[in-house]
Every structure is written in structure tokens, then in C-alpha cells.
């Protein structure tokens, strides 16, 4: 059964990387984009990968946690707890920081689409120049690399 849990975990990781890849590239592309219609398209593209992201995250966690039980790691090794903790902390960060940022961006783009002069080129420039996308990229990358380190080298 252990191999099956690992298989599910790897399928989850693969789906997670593929689905989140869309959001990652969107985060980078948004910083260079100034055209409202193209910005909305990028935001829609990112949103379209959300379902795949949630399903793959569930598989990733299910496979990883179950494999940990099957391999008796939870009681004997600390790395798996730390890896899970880092992953959950990353999810909290993603929920609190970039999610709020992209909600603001979507709201601003909706206001722009609705007409009026509240969102012009200057406002778009300021919105997309936020440090949040790069901060998110760094936090996400460092966190995932650290989890990969824990999984492969199992230092404690």
C-alpha cells in the first residue's frame, strides 16, 4: 500500500506544479502588463487552474500523510512534521497575502471595465508594481525547495 500512497503523492505534486505553474507565470506576466483587457485575461487564466490546484493539493496531502503513517515516519522522524508545517504555513501565507492582492486587482479591473475614470493607466501601473507577486514567488519557491530538501535528505 505504501507505494500506492507515494504514487498518489507524486500525482498530487505533479498536478500541483502544473496547476500552480499557471498562477506563477501569471504573477510574473502581470507585472509587465498594462493593458486592462490583457490583465483581465491573465487573471482569468490563473483562476481557471484553481480547481485543478485544489484537487492536486488534496491528493498531495492525502498521499503524503498516508505514506507517512505507512512508513511509520510520524512517530520516528521529525522531518515529515516540519514539512507538513511548512506547507500549511505557506498555504496560510498564500491565503493572507497574494489572494488579497489579486482580489484587489480583480476588483480594480472590474471597476475599470465598468467605465468611469477611477482606474486609469497610473492606477494600473501602481497596482501591478506591487512587491507582492515577487514576494509570493520567493516565499513559494524557498518553501517548496525546503520541503523537497526535507523529503529527500530526511535530516532529522
Amino acid at each position: 500500500m505504501y507505494n500506492w500512497w507515494v504514487f498518489i503523492h507524486i500525482v498530487g505534486v505533479l498536478g500541483f506544479v502544473l496547476a500552480h505553474g499557471a498562477s506563477t507565470w501569471m504573477a510574473l506576466a502581470v507585472r509587465r502588463e498594462r493593458e486592462p483587457e490583457r490583465l483581465r485575461t491573465l487573471l482569468d487564466l490563473s483562476a481557471s487552474a484553481t480547481m485543478a490546484f485544489y484537487v492536486s493539493t488534496f491528493l498531495l496531502l492525502l498521499g503524503g500523510v498516508a505514506a507517512g503513517f505507512d512508513g511509520h515516519w510520524w512517530s520516528q522522524q521529525a522531518w515529515i512534521s516540519v514539512a507538513l508545517g511548512v506547507f500549511l504555513a505557506e498555504m496560510v501565507f498564500m491565503w493572507a497575502v497574494p489572494r488579497q492582492y489579486y482580489r484587489r486587482l480583480r476588483r480594480a479591473m472590474a471597476i475599470e471595465q465598468g467605465g468611469g475614470t477611477a482606474v486609469g493607466p497610473r492606477e494600473i501601473e501602481q497596482l501591478v508594481q506591487s512587491p507582492v507577486p515577487m514576494l509570493t514567488l520567493w516565499v513559494g519557491t524557498v518553501g517548496l525547495l525546503f520541503i523537497a530538501y526535507l523529503m529527500i535528505l530526511q535530516p532529522f
Binding site: D44, A47, S48, R103, R107, A108, I111, G114, G116, A118
Partner: protein, 351 residues
């Protein structure tokens, strides 16, 4: 003025006290501005003496409203004051309850468990909490303070419910000849965008605007104090239900502002409350639904659940669409998909 048609029946609670008289005066002033009528109500706890006192209180109050040239009627209701007033407001479809911040017959300031507090949490309509003065001597004066709103502060976060409150607050401010200031609590950039957009939608792009950072409820109350505002207008989002426990903006404002607070009924409205061309999340037979009334008056009732992942859609009054705040799906007023990621139209409940 059309927006103010929602304030046609203004219920004011009274116990005959000098402080309740201030609330009566405010209700009379509003009815004059909106062309509405005042319904004077007093609650009694069941014994004959209390009933007599209540009857005298409403008689006196009504005579004062009549002298001001405003249509009025009165009623005495039996029961615990807050529950009785809320029940009666629901029964007569009152659009606004005006209540003093000292508890109806019980000398309690607006605080958890007080009459005005309980009314604000359970009212089926908008609630105006009138400051009657921390010092009872002011209320006991032979001539109560002249009631006039010179300045109105409207708080908005740009959400559809807050926008609805902003429209109503602005219409009221105009009718009263008051100066209007829009306020947003949050970051500077979004504040500028939201307030500019709100002002443009109100047709007054030059309205005064205030942006501040901090805990929203307390910051709005502080802004009102700094600006010398007479009336703060907020939506009622979060004042009832689970968020009540966690604290909500209208609740915090009503407890902290030194001026009168109008809590506009933007959440928990019914299909009957929708005006032509308006869409909103409303309550229908105990269920929250997405309702839209087209300009001819025809209703469309849809499930509020986005068909993508089940988030609640919100009405976008500018585009007249249902937008999902989670992942950006967009549906037209009839619920048909305009933008993904949702692939399926909103479920129709009935039309």
C-alpha cells in the same frame, strides 16, 4: 429622491422620556425630507400601568409629529422592548427604525444587550441610532437640541452592499442639504480607486473623500469624530449571524461613534426590496438567493452559488452582472456565463 422611497415608513421607538424625544425629532426630520410617515411605537411589559404609560407616551409623541406637519400613526405593543419593536417593524414593513441610544425605559447606553444594540442586530430594516447625549441634562432641557444633519460621512469598501448603502446615504444627505464625505478604510491606492468610482457613480465626482488605515469600525468612528460629522452611514454586513460573534464594522461603529449612526439594511433584504434595474443577494423563504429585478419589474431569482467552486456571487451594478469574487467568473443578470472559469450558468430558482 427615488432612493429615499425606501424610507417611507419610519418607526420610532419611544418610552416618553426626554431622550426618546430626541429620536422622535430625528424621525420627524427624516420623514419631512423623504416624504414619509412616522410610526410612533411604545412597548410595555404586560401590566396595566405600563400600558397606560405607553399609551400616553405615543399620544404625546404623535401630537408633536403632527405639529411638524408630518403624517403619523401610533401603536403600543406588548413585550420586551427590543423584540417587540423588531417584530412590529417586520409586521408593518417599516423601512427604518429610529431609536435613541439609551434603552427604552431602561437607562442603558448602547452596549451589548441594550435595547438599541439588540434592535440593530435583529432589525428587518435599516436602523438609525440617535445619540441622545451622555449627559441626561441635555435631554431633560425644556427645549431639546435642534435636530439637523449638516454633515454625513458615508463609509464604503466598494463592495456591492456598501455601494447600496452609499447611494442611500448620499440621497439622504442631499435631501437634508448636508455636506457629504466618502470614507474608505484600507490602503491608499484602493481607497482612491473605490472612492473615486463611488463618487462618480453617485454623480458627484467632487465629493469630499477620506482614506485612513486601521481597524475599519474604530477608524470610521474616529474619522467621524475628527470631521465633526453629524451622521455616519454604514451597511449592515456582518451585524447579524456568525460574524456578529467576531465583530463587524457596523457594530463597532455604532458602539464607538459619538454621532448618530445609520445602519443601512443591505444584507438580509428580500426580493420585494429590489428596485427596477437592481440586483442583490436577498433572502427568500429562509434561503439566500441572487435576485434581479429588470427595469420592467420582472424578477429573476438565481442560486447565489458560483458554478465553478461554490463561492457566493456578488452583484456588479456597473456592468449589471453577477461576479464571483473568488476566481473572477462572471454571469449576466439572467445568470448566463459571461466569463469563466465557470462553465455552467447559475442555477435558476424561479423567474
Amino acid at each position: 429622491m427615488d432612493d429615499l422611497l425606501v424610507f417611507q415608513t419610519i418607526l420610532v421607538g419611544t418610552d416618553g422620556s426626554p431622550t426618546a424625544r430626541i429620536a422622535e425629532d430625528v424621525a420627524t426630520m427624516l420623514a419631512r425630507a423623504t416624504g414619509g410617515q412616522v410610526l410612533v411605537v411604545s412597548a410595555f411589559d404586560g401590566n396595566a400601568d405600563a400600558k397606560l404609560t405607553a399609551e400616553e407616551a405615543v399620544k404625546d409623541a404623535r401630537s408633536r409629529v403632527d405639529v411638524a406637519g408630518v403624517d403619523s400613526w401610533s401603536e403600543v405593543v406588548e413585550g420586551e422592548p427590543a423584540a417587540a419593536l423588531v417584530k412590529f417593524a417586520d409586521h408593518v414593513n417599516a423601512e427604518l427604525i429610529v431609536i435613541g441610544d439609551i434603552g427604552m425605559g431602561e437607562a442603558r447606553r448602547l452596549r451589548l444587550g441594550g435595547v438599541p444594540d439588540r434592535i440593530s442586530h435583529s432589525a428587518p430594516c435599516s436602523v438609525l441610532i440617535v445619540r441622545t447625549g451622555n449627559d441626561a441634562r441635555e435631554a431633560n432641557a425644556a427645549e431639546p437640541r435642534p435636530v439637523r444633519y449638516r454633515s454625513v460621512l458615508i463609509a464604503t469598501d466598494g463592495s456591492p452592499t456598501a455601494s447600496h448603502a452609499a447611494h442611500l446615504g448620499a440621497a439622504l444627505g442631499r435631501a437634508l442639504g448636508a455636506s457629504i464625505t466618502l470614507a474608505h478604510v484600507g490602503d491608499e491606492l484602493m481607497g482612491r480607486i473605490v472612492l473615486k468610482d463611488t463618487a462618480e457613480r453617485l454623480g458627484e465626482p467632487d465629493l469630499a473623500q477620506q482614506i485612513a488605515d486601521g481597524e475599519p469600525g474604530k477608524t470610521i468612528a474616529r474619522l467621524a469624530d475628527q470631521l465633526g460629522t453629524d451622521l455616519v452611514v454604514v451597511g449592515n454586513k456582518g451585524i447579524a449571524g456568525a460574524r456578529r460573534v467576531l465583530g463587524s464594522v457596523p457594530n463597532t461603529v455604532s458602539h464607538n461613534a459619538d454621532c448618530d449612526v445609520l445602519i443601512v439594511h443591505t444584507v438580509g433584504r428580500s426580493l420585494a426590496d429590489l428596485t427596477p434595474g437592481e440586483g442583490a443577494i436577498v433572502e427568500e423563504k429562509g434561503q439566500r438567493v441572487a435576485g434581479y429585478r429588470d427595469p420592467s419589474g420582472q424578477l429573476t431569482v438565481l442560486s447565489k452559488k458560483c458554478t465553478h467552486l461554490g463561492c457566493s456571487v456578488q452583484w456588479n451594478p456597473t456592468l449589471e452582472t453577477w461576479d464571483c469574487p473568488c476566481h473572477g467568473s462572471r454571469f449576466d443578470a439572467e445568470g448566463k456565463v459571461v466569463n469563466g472559469p465557470a462553465q455552467r450558468d447559475l442555477d435558476r430558482i424561479h423567474a
